[in-house]
């Protein structure tokens, strides 16, 4: 089976780690995840999947494209430019803050068909916002029998001048021209990030025999 876990930690450069949250089980791969996994395994299949903008996107490219891409760059930077077979860059411009690990303030219970965080915290430095830094996979797959796992991490910096409270987190995955919410979790108790503090969100994806 596969399990996902998440952990939220707060730190700043003066005090170091302020709090290291418990590693919790992520409850909630949502519908788009199982849909995209199906597309990946059933090559050539057409299927419509609802993206984070609420648009129903018909897909059939599953086998050749990364369905779960989340290596987003710094929030304000465009990325997702890559070469096609003819040597041309595919210029799908997507902001780094549009995908990867995302955070929000919503408290609505998770349901199977969630295709978004309820209330996404925007990238920025004004009130209620956080700066989305890069989302990365910091290491290789770790094998520790009977488990194999890897981490996905993202840092957020609060430069808003006030507190920002996190109630929900998730992963938005970029696939071709669209972005899909594949995981959503409620954070309870909520985590409040003070001004000038960093928040690190780590998701661990693990298989076990």
């Amino acid at each position: 089976m596969i399990n996902a876990y998440y952990q939220l930690s707060r730190f700043n450069f003066d005090k170091g780690i302020i709090s290291k949250g418990r590693k919790r089980t992520s409850r909630s791969f949502v519908k788009a995840f199982i849909d995209l996994l199906y597309l990946k395994m059933y090559s050539g299949m057409f299927m419509s999947v609802t993206d984070t903008a609420g648009a129903v996107i018909a897909n059939n490219y599953g086998f050749y494209l990364p369905l779960f891409h989340c290596n987003a760059s710094f929030g304000g930077q465009y990325n997702m430019n890559y070469l096609n077979s003819y040597g041309n860059y595919y210029t799908q411009k997507t902001l780094g803050s549009d995908y990867g690990i995302m955070v929000g303030t919503g408290t609505a219970a998770v349901i199977t068909t969630d295709d978004n965080l309820q209330t996404l915290i925007q990238h920025g430095t004004s009130s209620g916002k956080l700066q989305y830094l890069g989302c990365m996979i910091p290491g290789d797959v770790t094998i520790s029998a009977p488990n194999a796992s890897f981490n996905i991490e993202r840092l957020f910096l609060n430069s808003s001048g006030g507190d920002v409270t996190i109630n929900e987190i998730g992963i938005y995955a970029a696939y071709f021209t669209s972005i899909y919410c594949i995981i959503r979790d409620l954070v309870s108790p909520a985590v409040t990030v003070a001004n000038n503090e960093y928040l690190k969100v780590t998701y661990t994806i693990q298989v076990s025999v």
């Binding site: 409850r27 199982i34 849909d35 003819y86 199977t112 797959v141």
Partner: protein
């Protein structure tokens, strides 16, 4: 603890007329193996072989460098790959074997895969078929289905099952994603079939 993504399998044995002889219990598959999570990492990270090669061990016990970036336009209309195995193909899709070696996280192949055919000890592999995702309040799921027919003239016993992925870029590789040893071996008499249903399920 409830799993984030659970794989279940169920076997249904039928006689030559299609009558159900036995519907086995639906078991939780214990055993996604390391290649699944490694392939997954490539997916999440959009790994580019030219910039950050990533190697995964294939079913022939050879480490292969794979990439998801770049040359995809040539292939998008293909209807093979993934688990979509055609009839008689034992390289990928759902597969069955005759050994009961314990599963480990490092397994890269079935211990003893049963070949396609009608000779002694062989089974006939059908095309892999799929049930589209369904969603309700509890979660989402889809299934992969394959039928194995015994035309060998003798009994054939299945002790292990697995899922093998067909990777088409940058070259053809096969990666074992899951392997399970059956709690009770399933013996097929000549003319009997067994249907193997794999269910991928996420639950809220």
């Amino acid at each position: 603890m409830r799993d984030s993504l659970t794989l279940y399998y169920q076997l249904i044995k039928k006689d030559s007329k299609g009558n159900i002889i036995k519907k086995y219990k639906k078991y939780k598959a214990r055993s996604f193996v390391r290649q699944f999570i490694e392939f997954y990492l490539v997916q999440y990270g959009f790994i580019d072989a030219t910039q950050m090669p990533y190697t995964i061990r294939d079913t022939s016990n050879t480490t292969q460098t794979i990439s998801m970036a770049g040359n995809f336009w040539n292939f998008w209309t293909s209807n093979t790959g993934g688990l979509s195995a055609p009839v008689s193909n034992t390289n990928y899709g759902s597969v069955v074997g005759s050994a009961d070696t314990a599963v480990t996280i490092n397994d890269y192949a079935l211990a003893t895969k049963i070949a396609h055919g009608t000779s002694a000890g062989q089974l006939q592999y059908s095309v892999e078929t799929f049930g589209a995702p369904t969603t309700d309040a509890a979660g989402s799921s889809w299934i992969a289905v394959r039928v194995f027919t015994n035309g060998s003239g003798n009994d054939v016993t299945i002790k292990e099952i697995g899922l093998i992925l067909y990777n088409q870029y940058p070259a053809t590789y096969y990666f074992l994603f899951a392997r399970d040893v059956l709690a009770s071996p399933v013996t097929l008499a000549n003319g009997e079939t067994v249907t193997l249903n794999y269910t991928f399920l996420t639950a809220i």
